[in-house]
Symmetry: C2
């Protein structure tokens, strides 16, 4: 594997895993009122389109990274609705 490929994979791991600190924070504090559900709706829609695009192009990295990101961000959207206006 070349350096460029490693760079691309590292970039993919960062952008895919980015939502985990937000999930962790929401899980701990159960406070999500300042988090925008709209952001996660738009993001999940885009990630779903990327997965479809990946299947058409038969591109495994696109399917894998966007598929994992789709699941993580869907879980965050679920937490937003679970903890919303709980007070």
């Amino acid at each position: 594997m070349g350096w460029t490929e490693i760079l691309g994979l590292t970039a993919g791991v960062f952008t895919t895993a980015a939502v985990t600190p937000q999930i962790w924070k929401a899980w701990k504090t159960k406070e999500v009122d300042d988090v925008s559900p709209g952001m996660f709706f738009v993001l999940i829609t885009g990630l779903a389109l990327w997965v479809i695009y990946g299947f058409i192009e038969k591109d495994i990295p696109i399917i894998a990274t966007n598929g994992v990101a789709f699941m993580l961000n869907s879980f965050m959207l679920f937490l937003i609705y679970r903890y919303r206006n709980k007070n």
Copy 2:
């Protein structure tokens, strides 16, 4: 332009623009305590790596979409520090 290309571009517009509802919400409410700065740190790092990857691969769509996302998400991180613990 083929349907697959349009699908990929649409996916890119969605994932790139996703942060704008969060920026809008933070701007309006000036409340960001539930938003994770860690999420935006990791995301911005990943997007910067994608831009570098795009330059190495001379891939304009990767540079453009991740470059715009980098700027939008950096602005959101700025808003988090600007409005944090203001109460």
